[in-house]
């Protein structure tokens, strides 16, 4: 947890378009990050192993080894956060990348402020991933794991077992984009992997209990065409 506090975070950028790493490097260095870049997946993976970065930003379509293959390769060895860069309209690839281990995505062309926010959220997430006590705390939410109880800003919220499971998974993956398939696998188990209706209905139920205004949610946000992103609040 303190690792990132003591030293500058290392970010590996993998993109075959040379201008993008250059611009990102120029900007991210001023924010105190240490940057290295690679122009294809294979070189990226080698650099990843040798340099041990704290976060990876990768393009999806690249020669030799693409972004998806890189996500899989990195995920098989490490839990380091991965942000993929993608183009509009290619939702299927984004979903695939997320299900292959990516944590988040940014659509090209993106603003630097947007990318920075995602980088910071991803680093924050990875630095608090090792919470071992019986209480899971994030933002306005507190979960008592052994009693299976949930509180929002100190007020207890009665949840059904499924709602509780969903909230717990979302809290564990706060700020991350999760696809309906990921939710089905983790909240229901593999057997229901075709029931994305069930996810919608359960999300609606949970929103009614945790959101002040379920139609414009503050915590459990919809990520258009991709899935959901849980923001536990500051």
């Amino acid at each position: 947890m303190t690792e990132l506090g003591n030293k500058t975070a290392r970010i590996l950028i993998v993109d075959d378009e040379p201008d993008i790493p250059e611009v990102l490097q120029t900007s991210l260095v001023t924010h105190g990050f240490e940057i290295r870049s690679a122009d294809d997946g294979e070189t990226g993976l080698d650099l990843f192993k040798a340099w041990q970065p704290d976060l990876v930003i990768t393009d999806l379509s690249m020669p030799r080894m693409g972004g998806i293959a890189l996500c899989k390769a990195i995920r098989s060895a490490s839990a380091v956060p991965i942000i993929v860069l993608s183009v509009k309209g290619d939702e299927a690839t984004k979903v695939h990348a997320l299900e292959c281990g990516a944590d988040d995505y940014v659509t090209k062309p993106f603003g630097m402020n947007e990318l920075l926010a995602r980088i910071k959220a991803a680093l924050r997430r990875s630095s608090r991933a090792l919470i071992t006590s019986n209480v899971l705390r994030a933002g306005d939410f507190t979960l008592d794991i052994s009693a299976r109880r949930a509180e929002i800003s100190g007020r207890e919220v009665p949840l059904t077992p499924k709602e509780y499971d969903l909230l717990k998974f979302l809290l564990e993956n706060a700020d991350r984009v999760v696809t309906p398939k990921t939710l089905l696998m983790n909240v229901w188990g593999r057997t229901y992997s075709d029931q994305s209706d069930a996810v919608r209905v359960l999300v609606r139920q949970l929103r009614k209990k945790i959101e002040l205004s379920p139609s414009s949610p503050k915590y459990l946000k919809t990520e258009p065409w991709i899935g959901y992103r849980f923001k536990p609040g500051d």
Partner: protein, 387 residues
């Protein structure tokens, strides 16, 4: 090939005649010349119609000889003389019939050929005409497209380049402390806004190209109305920034499933409303169910759309500015593709799109589209999974 054809015609004639003769053979002693002649006539007529006058004439002579050979009294059996006058009559009759049938058939064939040729000529002429028309249209289309694209891509690009080079110039001339940060911020904001504008144009062109090439098939992907509304409104946030946007959609309608591309349509309608109504005026989005359709409406308080162009505004490159710009410029009006794209998408989804005037004689337009209801989000099966 030609030789073979001739061989088939003449050979075929003799083969047919021989077949008839053989068929008559068992009855020979009982048959009269008239019967044989009638049968042979039939064959000859067929020959004349199908293979022409030549084989028929030769066949006629052969038939006359055959009758003469087999049907004259025994004494003269093996002589080929025209023993009796009626043999001559038979021969002439055969010949005349062959010629007449052959000519009739040939004439009919010529007519048919002529018709076929005429048809072919007409077809070619039509094809050329329509190709020419299509070419003209696509040439015009290309030039309009090129004009608008170069214009609309270059305008933001010009602003970006001007702003960026100004910034380069500032940083070179003035030391950091003396720089005018307000001025720089303004230039930077121009770069950001104009690059967003460029990106919107690219999106629009991509959507349009997809529709034109017919690759925009109805997708099977369905999303609830509330997600369609939320996504389009979020995307249109920048263009609707200074307006009050109200959304009317009850929970039932919100859970109805719609095809994903309807979000693109709603976004285009929101953008259209923002473009054609005075800044600061409200925009109203309503979703409702009517029979087996979902109807989504975007209402603005602009000048409205005159009745005579309510169809036309959905055509590509049609641009209309109710505000009536004094300089006649079309800057900021867009490519004139938005509504054409919207209609294209809605039609591939089996729906309708149209515009009406505002209710109760108030100013403004109401753009509406209806899409057949796909399915409801909440099925009883999934309710059980959640319990």
């Amino acid at each position: 090939m030609r030789f073979r054809n001739t061989f088939v015609r003449y050979g075929g004639t003799f083969a047919c005649l021989t077949l008839v003769a053989l068929a008559l053979w068992p009855f020979h002693p009982d048959t009269r010349p008239l019967t044989a002649a009638a049968c042979l006539s039939l064959v000859l007529m067929g020959v004349a119609i199908n293979w022409g006058t030549g084989p028929a004439l030769l066949g006629s002579i052969a038939s006359a000889l055959y009758i003469n050979f087999y049907y004259v009294p025994p004494i003269d059996r093996f002589s080929f003389r025209l023993a009796q006058d009626d043999d001559l009559v038979a021969l002439i009759a055969f010949l005349v019939m062959s010629i007449v049938a052959g000519q009739l058939s040939a004439r009919a064939q010529r007519r048919a050929d002529e018709n076929l040729q005429l048809y072919e000529k007409l077809r070619v002429a039509f094809e050329q005409a329509s190709q020419l028309e299509a070419l003209k249209r696509s040439e015009r289309f290309k030039s309009v497209l090129l004009d608008t694209v170069t214009h609309d891509l270059r305008t933001p690009l010009t602003s970006i380049k001007a702003a960026a080079t100004s910034l380069v110039d500032f940083t070179q001339r003035a030391p950091f402390e003396e720089r005018n940060s307000a001025r720089e911020k303004k230039l930077l904001r121009i770069i950001v806004e104009q690059s967003d504008r460029l990106n919107r144009f690219i999106d629009e062109m991509v959507e349009f190209a997809k529709l034109e090439s017919g690759s925009k098939k109805p997708t099977g992907e369905l999303h609830p109305v509330e997600e369609i509304l939320g996504t389009s409104l979020a995307r249109a946030e920048a263009v609707l920034a200074d307006r009050r946007v109200t959304v009317e959609c009850d929970e039932n309608t919100g859970s109805v499933m719609l095809p994903k591309p309807t979000a693109e349509v709603l976004f285009l309608l929101l953008e259209n409303a923002a473009r054609h109504s005075p800044a600061g005026t409200p925009v109203c989005v309503t979703a409702s169910e009517q029979q087996d359709n979902v109807v989504i409406e975007v209402g603005d308080q602009g000048a409205g759309v005159p009745a005579e162009i309510r169809e036309k505004i959905f055509e590509k490159f049609f641009q209309f500015d109710a505000g009536g710009r004094k300089d006649g410029s079309t800057v900021g009006l867009g490519l004139g593709l938005g509504l054409a794209i919207a209609r294209g998408i809605i039609e591939t989804q089996g729906g309708k799109i149209w515009v009406e005037s505002n209710r109760n004689g108030k100013p403004g337009a109401r753009f509406m589209f209806s899409v057949p209801l796909a399915e409801r989000a909440i099925s009883t099966a999934s309710e059980q999974v959640i319990a």
